[in-house]
Assembly symmetry: C2
DNA sequence: TTTCTTAGGCAGAAAATACTGCATACTTGT
DNA sequence: ACAAGTATGCAGTATTTTCTGCCTAAGAAA
């Protein structure tokens, strides 16, 4: 997603669409979710934990999340490279919403079965 | 979004991505949000309340939300047509998550200013 | 010695999603 | 008499988003 955002109205005062401009896209919420469950994670741990994601999309989504102040990226100056990703305080504040969504999803799953 | 869903893995047990398959896409959450604020709404009320949405997208998203049991559609047999949309019980259960997301968005807005 | 892991990366292609422009038939409003 | 409102709709187009296939250099594991 470019930095123009999904919802483009300048006069849009809606806080929900404002939020969705930061966390929309296919992979951002799953990344935040997995980090909320596991604390600090490395690149390939994230890749293995998120079913279906590609290198390119993981890299791009991590960059966007870091730029938006939702995750921290800490690189240790080592070879081979060792990088750790974790949620910022701001990112942590998304957890209640994600838990509520996941709970709802669980309900939907039991309805569908 | 087709009925195959955004996240395709059969073996995906993640309740969050399961939920996102129902409420993903650009316009579904804003529709649910506006209905949660206003109770029952008509088609053009929804259209006027959601900045940037087109007829086609409103129609399609309403159909999908109805199919997924998230909103109710009640048609009065009148001319011109009068249709009212509202959240189902299941749809109402999304409200806490949306409120938490909107609250987070509000925080992001005050950070960005 | 060979294979695997680490954390990425690109440009163009593919896939997914949203939109356009005009349309409907009847009542209500101006 | 004319315009506006009502709740939609399509097929092709446009836009947005994601993906592919192969690649890197050095250490660790087999």
């Amino acid at each position: 997603m470019n930095n123009q955002g999904l919802y483009k109205s300048k006069f849009d005062n809606c806080p929900l669409t404002f939020a969705l401009n930061f966390i929309g896209g296919k992979w951002r919420l799953p990344i935040i979710w997995v980090l909320s469950k596991n604390g600090t994670m490395r690149y390939n741990e994230l890749k293995r934990s998120i079913d279906g994601i590609t290198n390119m999309m993981l890299t791009q989504s991590l960059k966007e999340l870091e730029l938006n102040g939702i995750i921290n990226r800490k690189q240790f100056m080592e070879v081979p490279p060792r990088v750790k990703y974790s949620l910022t305080d701001n990112g942590e504040e998304l957890i209640p919403a994600l838990k509520a969504l996941a709970n709802w999803g669980k309900n939907m799953k039991s309805i569908a079965e």
